[in-house]
Amino acid sequence: MLKKKHLLGIAELEREEIEAILESAASMKDILKRDIPKVPTLRGKTVANLFFEPSTRTRTSFEIAAKRLSADVVNFSSAGSSISKGETLKDTVRNIEAMIVDAVVVRHSSEGVPHYIASFSKASVINAGDGKHEHPTQALLDVFTIKEKKGYIEGLNIAIVGDITHSRVARSDILAIKKLGGNPIVVGPPTMLPLYVEALEVETAHCIDEVIPHVDVIIMLRIQKERMKSPLFPSIREYSRLFGLNRKKLEKAKKDVLIMHPGPVNWGVELSPDIMDFERNIILEQVTNGVAVRMAVLYLLIGP
C-alpha cells in the first residue's frame, strides 16, 4: 500500500510502493477486459479533475479510470472558469474541496502546484503533470507497459529521446526506471538537455544512432510546438533528421526493441510516419494501460 496520502511525484515513492501500484494495475487491467468493465470499489467517492492546462488524453484517462471504479467525476478546466476571472488557485481549489471531494487530480503549468495544493488540501492530491517537473502516472504506465512486454525492468537499457529539459515525462520516467533497477539513457541535442544534467544522475548521449543498437526500449518525447520557434534547434527538418526516429535508423536496433511515446505524437517530427505501423510500436497499449494504472492509483489512495 502507499505510505502517503498524495501522489505528488515518483521522487516521493519507494520501490515497493511502485511495485504495489503495478501489481494493482495488473488486476485493474483484468477488470477492463471483462464484459462489464466496471466495479463498485469507489462508489460514493468523488474525484475532481482540475486541469489548468489543456489535456485530452490524461484527463480522459483519469475520468474513465474513476468511472470504471464507480467514483463520481467532476471536470474543471481553467478556460471559462473563475481562474480566468482572476480567482486565485488556492480559492479555486478550496471552493471545489468545499463541495466535498476525495481526490483532486491536478495538471498545472507551474512546477510544484500539486505540492502547494497538498499543503492545504484535505483531499488526496494526484499530480497529473506539473510544469516541467513530474508526471508520475505517465511514468507508472510506462514502466507498467515495459514490464508487461519484457517481464521485468531490472537491467534494461531504456533510451528517452528528445527535449529532456522541458519534459516532466522524462524526469518521472528516469526516476521510475532507476527505482526499478533499469538503466535510463537520455538523448537529445545539447540545447535540450539541462545544463546541469548530471543532477539527474543518468547516462546521457547526443547521438541517437549511437544509442539505438544498445537499447531495449526507446521512449520518444514530443517536441512541443512553442519550442519549435525557439533557438533550441534550427528547424524541424534538422531536428527530425538528427534526433527523430525512422525505420532506417531502427535497422541497427535490437530485434525486440520497443517504441514508446507519451503522446500526442508529432508525426514527421520526432517520429517518422513509417513508424505508425511498426510492429513493436506500443504507443496505443500505453494509452490502454494508462487507465489501469490510474485506476490502481485512485484505488490505493482513496479506496476502502
Binding site: 507551474s110 512546477e111 510544484g112 522541458h166
Partner: protein, 430 residues
C-alpha cells in the same frame, strides 16, 4: 536632557577597532562619554549590559519599505519597527514604490513620513531613470536636494548601457553612488530559481549565473571608463566576485553587497516549492555560497545588506512560478549572520563592520560607529540568547522568510536611535 548609561557591555566598534568592556553615556542625541567606568547618577536611565555586546546601530542600505503605493506589503511605520527590532537604526529605502521615487516630491514625502514615525533614520534611494524604465534620467539633483543618498532602479537593472554610463557620469556632480541590480533580463527570462542542480531536478526554469555576471562586467567597464561611483546590489555568484576583485585591483571606484540569505542558503531549499525561497537573484549553488562568504571575509564584498523585500499573502500564497520574488529580512539578518559567525564561516569583527561602518561610508552616512560626540545609535545584543524564527511575530508586514522555524543564537535586546530607546524587552517602544 535625557541620559542613558549603558553599563558593563562589550563594545565592539569596528570603526575604531575597539573591542572592550566599557560604560557608555548617552546625553541627548549624542554619545557623550565612553570610559571603563562611569558613575551612575539619578538622572540616568541605566542599562545593565553585562555579558552583552554593545554595537553601533546597524546600517542597511537595501530595504524596500513599499510606501507609497504598496502599503499592504509594508509601510514606513511597520518597516521602521521591523528595522529597530532587528537592530537597524539606519536604513536606505529603494525607489520601486508607486509612484516611483523619481522626483524630489516623493523623496520628501518619504523623509517626512520617516520623521513622523521617528523610530530610525531612513534615507531614500532615488530612481536612476524616470519610472524605472531605463530610458531617461530621473531628476537626480532634485531628489538629492530632498534627501536621497544614492540612486538605483533596483527591482530592475539599468538595462540601457548608455543610460547607465550617463548616470555614472552625472552622479559624480553629487558624489553619490549609482547602485545597480545586475541582471541581464534576456538571460534571466522567465526563470524563477538558480540554474543548476535543483533547476534540473525540479524543472523550475533556471536563472543562470551569467545573467548577473554579464551585467556586473558591463557596469565595471562603465565605471572604469567614467570614473563614476558604482555600488552593486546583492552579489550572488562566484563569477561576479572574480569580476569585482579584478575591477577593484584596477582601481575602479566600486563597492558591493551580499544578503544574509545568499550567505546562508543554497538552492537546495527550493525542492519544497516553498515560495518564500523565491528571491531575485535566486539562491545559488554551494560553490557560489562559499565564494560570496570568502569574498565578504576578504573585503572583496564590502558589506551585508538585507534586500528586505516584504510581500503579502496574495503575492506569496500562490503557484511558485507566479509568486513574487523577495525575502523579508530585517528581523532575521543579525541572527542569521551571527549563526554564520558561530559556525566559523565569518569573523565577528568583519560581520559587524559589514553591517555598520562599511555601508555607512559607502553611502556617506553619519552612522555605524560608536564614539564620543558621535550619534547615539546603539544596539545591545545578547549573544547567547537562543530563539526560533516565527514570522507571525514579525513587526514587518512581510512574513515571507525561508528562515521560518530556524533556531538562531544571538538576539537584539535593546535598540537606541538618536538617543532614544526605540526597542527593548522584545518590543518596539513608540
Amino acid at each position: 536632557m535625557g541620559a542613558i548609561l549603558i553599563k558593563g557591555g562589550r563594545l565592539i566598534d569596528p570603526a575604531s577597532g575597539r573591542d572592550e568592556v566599557v560604560d557608555i553615556l548617552i546625553e541627548g542625541e549624542r554619545v557623550s562619554r565612553i570610559a571603563p567606568s562611569i558613575e551612575v547618577q539619578e538622572r540616568m536611565e541605566v542599562i545593565d549590559a553585562e555579558g552583552k555586546w554593545v554595537l553601533p546601530g546597524l546600517v542597511d542600505v537595501h530595504v524596500h519599505l513599499r510606501e507609497p503605493g504598496y502599503e499592504y506589503k509594508e509601510d514606513i511605520e511597520s518597516g521602521s519597527k521591523a528595522a529597530v527590532a532587528g537592530g537597524f537604526t539606519t536604513i536606505c529605502c529603494k525607489a520601486n514604490t508607486n509612484p516611483v521615487n523619481d522626483t524630489g516630491a516623493i523623496t520628501r514625502y518619504i523623509v517626512e513620513r520617516a520623521k513622523e514615525v521617528g523610530l530610525c533614520r531612513i534615507y531614500p534611494v532615488g530612481a536612476v531613470s524616470k519610472g524605472l524604465k531605463g530610458e531617461e534620467l530621473a531628476e537626480i539633483g532634485d531628489m538629492v536636494a530632498n534627501g536621497a543618498v544614492a540612486v538605483s532602479d533596483d527591482g530592475r537593472p539599468v538595462w540601457n548601457s548608455e543610460l547607465m554610463r550617463r548616470a555614472l557620469e552625472y552622479t559624480k556632480y553629487f558624489g553619490i553612488p549609482v547602485v545597480d541590480h545586475c541582471e541581464d533580463l534576456a538571460l534571466s527570462g522567465d526563470g524563477v530559481v538558480h540554474e543548476g542542480k535543483y533547476s534540473a531536478i525540479t524543472g523550475l526554469k533556471g536563472i543562470p549565473a551569467s545573467a548577473e555576471e554579464v551585467m556586473v562586467a558591463r557596469d565595471i567597464i562603465l565605471a572604469r571608463e567614467t570614473k563614476g561611483r558604482l555600488h552593486i546590489d546583492h552579489v550572488s555568484t562566484a563569477g561576479s566576485v572574480k569580476l569585482i576583485e579584478m575591477g577593484k585591483d584596477e582601481g575602479v571606484c566600486l563597492s558591493c553587497e551580499v544578503t544574509p540569505h545568499h550567505l546562508a542558503l543554497t538552492d537546495e531549499v527550493i525542492v519544497t516549492f516553498d515560495t518564500d525561497t523565491k528571491v531575485n537573484p535566486p539562491l545559488r549553488g554551494e560553490e557560489h555560497v562559499l565564494a560570496v562568504r570568502e569574498a565578504l571575509e576578504k573585503g572583496i564584498i564590502d558589506i551585508i545588506a538585507t534586500d528586505h523585500a516584504p510581500h503579502g499573502a496574495i503575492d506569496k500564497d500562490v503557484e511558485y512560478t507566479k509568486a513574487a520574488f523577495g525575502i523579508s529580512g530585517l528581523e532575521t539578518a543579525l541572527g542569521v549572520v551571527l549563526k554564520l559567525v558561530n559556525e566559523g564561516a565569518l569573523s565577528l569583527k568583519r560581520a559587524i563592520e559589514a553591517m555598520t561602518i562599511a555601508p555607512a561610508r559607502i553611502f556617506g552616512l553619519d552612522a555605524g560607529y560608536v564614539a564620543e560626540g558621535g550619534p547615539a545609535d546603539i544596539v545591545v545584543v545578547d549573544p547567547d540568547k537562543e530563539w526560533v524564527v516565527d514570522p507571525s511575530r514579525f513587526y514587518s508586514k512581510g512574513k515571507n522568510t525561508p528562515f521560518k522555524g530556524w533556531k538562531l543564537k544571538g538576539k537584539v535586546v535593546i535598540t537606541i536611535c538618536n538617543g532614544k530607546l526605540v526597542y527593548k524587552n522584545g518590543e518596539v517602544v513608540s
